[in-house]
Symmetry: C2
Subunit: 89 residues, 2 copies
Amino acid sequence: MSSHRIEIRVKPRPGLLNPEGKAIHHALVSLGWTGVEDVRVGKVMYLDLDAPSPEAAVEAVEAMCRKLLANPVTEDYEVSVVGEAEVVG
Amino acid sequence: MSSHRIEIRVKPRPGLLNPEGKAIHHALVSLGWTGVEDVRVGKVMYLDLDAPSPEAAVEAVEAMCRKLLANPVTEDYEVSVVGEAEVVG
């Protein structure tokens, strides 16, 4: 067993309203960035997980996404391995 | 000029408290995922931007991060091009 760092990107489904993204879009245009066409905001999570292999870690994290981390009606998720977890003192 | 889709990951700096990550960690352990060692939560943003090149788009988005999208004291950010923006009808 070793520790794997997994990145999870949870994002709003296309077509759903994203008020936080809309507010950021408006602020960027007000600051002069008029080339911005759309902003959508989701969550990124970094999870350190003890697992026998990176594949097993990803499989466990996908189960976590289905059960807790993402809303299956409104959000999509993507899971990727970003490396071994750093040892924190 | 064409439209580029940029992904921005804004994450809490190492060493800073991340209460949302801690709450998720606790929930995962309660659900039986005892191999989870740490969870940290940040934001992911998808920005569609009109720019002459992907490099120019990234440069503009890094300026947006410094000025608005990330808190320079508490957060780090990473910017990457994820492709041409989809044309939404």
